[in-house]
Amino acid sequence: MKEITLTINGKQVKGKEGDTVLDICQANGIDLPTLCHFKGLKDVGACRLCVVEIERERRPVPACTYPARDGLVIQTKNEKLEKYRRLILELMFTERNHLCAQCVASGDCELQSLAYKYQMDNARYPYSWPALPVDSVNDYLVIDHNRCILCGRCIRTCDEIVGVHTLDFGYRGWKDMVVADLNQPLGTSSCISCGACFQVCPTGAIFSKSSAYKGRPEECQKVSSICPVCGVGCQIEALVKDNRLVRIDSPDLTGKRGILCHKGRFAPLYRNNERIDTALVKNGRGKLESRTLSEAIGIVAKRFAELKARYGSNSIAGIASSQASNESLKAFKELISGTIGSELIDTIDGDIYRTIMQGINTYQKDAALDIETSIEEILKSDCIIVVGANPLESHPVAGSYITRAASQYRAKLIIIDPSENTFSYHTTLWLKPKEGKESLALDVLTKAVINKGTKKDSAQAKKVTASLKDINVKQVSEQVGIGSDELLEAAEILSKSKRSVIIYGEGILQHKNPGIITSIFKLGTIASGQSASKPQIISLKPKGNSRGAWDMGIASPSQSVMKSITGNNIKALYILLADDYIEASELPKFGKGLEFVVIQSSYLSSATSKANVVLPSPIWVEISEKYSTLDGVAKSTSRLIKPTDGIKADSQILREISKHINK
């Protein structure tokens, strides 16, 4: 880009064409106050604090929206401009009801900091004292309109970064205010509670219930980590005070993968389930009672050794939740497969793993999960196909990439799902195949794209084309319940796409039908856009570390150990739940032959009450361990807070049990 030279405050500075005056000031260390500006958001010139004088301009102009040109002569600081800035601050303070002494943001407020900077020790203007509402219907967030300065940062973030565009300005002029949807409470609106608006709010107008009055940033320790809750693998930055989480933010909110969701930003600040902080052993009356960890480990090791000696290794089974960390799962495998020597090891989501792998291997023999693409692909694509998934609920950050791609980057969004979906607002086309006809519906769409004459000549593409040669588009589209017009429109979009990606999830996986997965890959082969050499497909896996558990071979490749628990051959069972809250109904019925059950879990639940021994697990904010994202990248968490005494890492307990058995 062309370099330009400007004169700012008498000094020559350089910038690029396309920069704003503010960009150039900031790049050259020239201090300008801002409130509505936020790095990575489009500038709107709402607050007017960055006003500068530019030669030949009749009046001061905001630097954030003024395009820099070669030869501009700019003054950023003089008595008049400083007077204006203080005047703007006084007007802001008198327009609404800014009472710092009782505000959650006091001490961490950009408006207040600027008032200090400009020594605003009084306000000359009459106060308006408008009667304004406080919206606290949302589970996590409060909008206090009394403290809003209408900078619009929240609105732009909600639109440009999150992509859901729940917030916008409502009313006009003097009555202007931030509203959700068509002026509903935030809690009943289309808000996904990602909290991005809270992070960008310069005042206390949008605040988090769980962070309010817990501590000011300067009193807190800042710890960087990743969130392992759903497998998207978002970077987080936590503020911690006195071993308590104060708030969780994104370190780079407006960056490519910057946004967070309520599962990572807010949920860790709440305690909804009862924690297990000591080992529990069932007594003679069938009640769980507290024991020391070493006593409990001794009991587990002794019983397992006995049962193994009496019934053989394969009488003992191990089931793990894919929410456990890679370290925990590794130690779990060592215990079950190594020390005990059992072949019966599986994950709770093992069926899903087997469905996906069988589907992939029908498409391509010996292919592994790395045939899938990365989550970033969503933001690079011009067409996104969502098949049987509800990412805004299950993987909200991935969901927001989809809405952002559709709303900001104008990607086409095709939904293939018979059930309701949260994307309706952004959807280009919604195909609703009949239940049970999903696989055929995908095949007929693939065929329709082939009929458009797409130029794909890879061996795979030829194979796919051949496998679909008998499909008559018109006939089959009726059979699957999709109008042929819609189908052809979808085919048209896909044939024109340069880069497309398919996302599928729960809605498909619940059927446990590998045929649908194969059909998704066939569609991907033909329709992943001209620039893609392989199908661009992402599966939204059920748990935060499903990919890690599956890659490590914890999920059984061939048999469902989960199901075999119901039979009579299994005498002992070790269930590693870690911080996954699982109810008994999510586990298979225990067989009559089962003599001894160990559950290692962070939370008490109907499942743990069925165990003979319960061992305590830490939760993810209490450990520094690795998790694999759903697109296969191992990322490390950092310990944010210390667990209570007596809670040790899962892997440590598992290894101690192994050691005891080997003795």
């Binding site: 303070f93 009801n97 009472l99 710092c100 002494a101 009782q102 505000c103 006091s106 001490g107 207040q112 008032a115 200090y116 900077k117 400009y118 020594q119 605003m120 020790d121 009084n122 306000a123 000359r124 009459p126 106060y127 004292w129 408008p130 009667a131 304004l132 009394n146």
Partner: protein, 178 residues
């Protein structure tokens, strides 16, 4: 040199600013050599003499407070405002968004512990103003020490500036609104 005469008042406030002033600790001894406190809530003198410096803590929320502030202004050369209430309205001004009758009803009748409450309106009880005002919206104020309460250091700084013959303006790092 004659001592500088000072009068202070607290209007609608919590007395916190005066308490913060007493937090200047041993500096008060040196100050006492230079300053004479006349009418203050601490000395409990009711009449205003002519003074050099008037100090107001608190906002103006009723007719009595308005009268006292005007009287103080008339009796001092320089008027200094202490605290968020006097500088901005402060916590007392939270009621300004509400109708004053609603405020009285809530306070005297609707409070959970009140049985058969009544709004007292005997003659002589000052009436509430429609809105709570900072001092400078009633009279001319010459200098400000915001804070809730202001730091003792900020109060001392402002007093020292006055004694040195300057109108104090708090430097940015001494400014606070909480």
């Amino acid at each position: 040199m004659a001592k500088v005469k000072v009068a202070t008042v607290w209007l609608e406030s919590c007395a916190g600013c005066h308490m913060s002033f007493l937090d200047i600790d041993e500096a008060i001894i040196d100050l006492a050599n230079l300053v004479e406190f006349t009418r203050t809530p601490i000395t409990d003198i009711k009449e205003f003499p002519q003074v050099d410096v008037g100090i107001v803590e608190g906002s103006v929320g009723n007719t009595e407070e308005e009268k006292v502030l005007k009287e103080l202004r008339a009796h001092c050369k320089i008027l200094m405002a202490w605290g968020d209430c006097a500088c901005f309205g402060g916590v007392c001004a939270m009621r300004s968004t509400l109708d004053k009758e609603e405020v009285l009803r809530r306070g005297y009748i609707e409070t959970e512990s009140t049985y058969k409450g009544k709004i007292p309106r005997p003659p002589g009880v000052p009436a509430l103003l429609d809105q709570v005002k900072p001092a400078n919206h009633v009279v001319k104020v010459d200098c400000y020490v915001p804070g809730c309460p202001p730091e003792a250091e900020a109060i001392l700084y402002a007093l020292k500036e006055l004694l040195a013959g300057r109108i104090p303006v708090l430097p940015s790092d001494m400014m606070r609104f909480d």
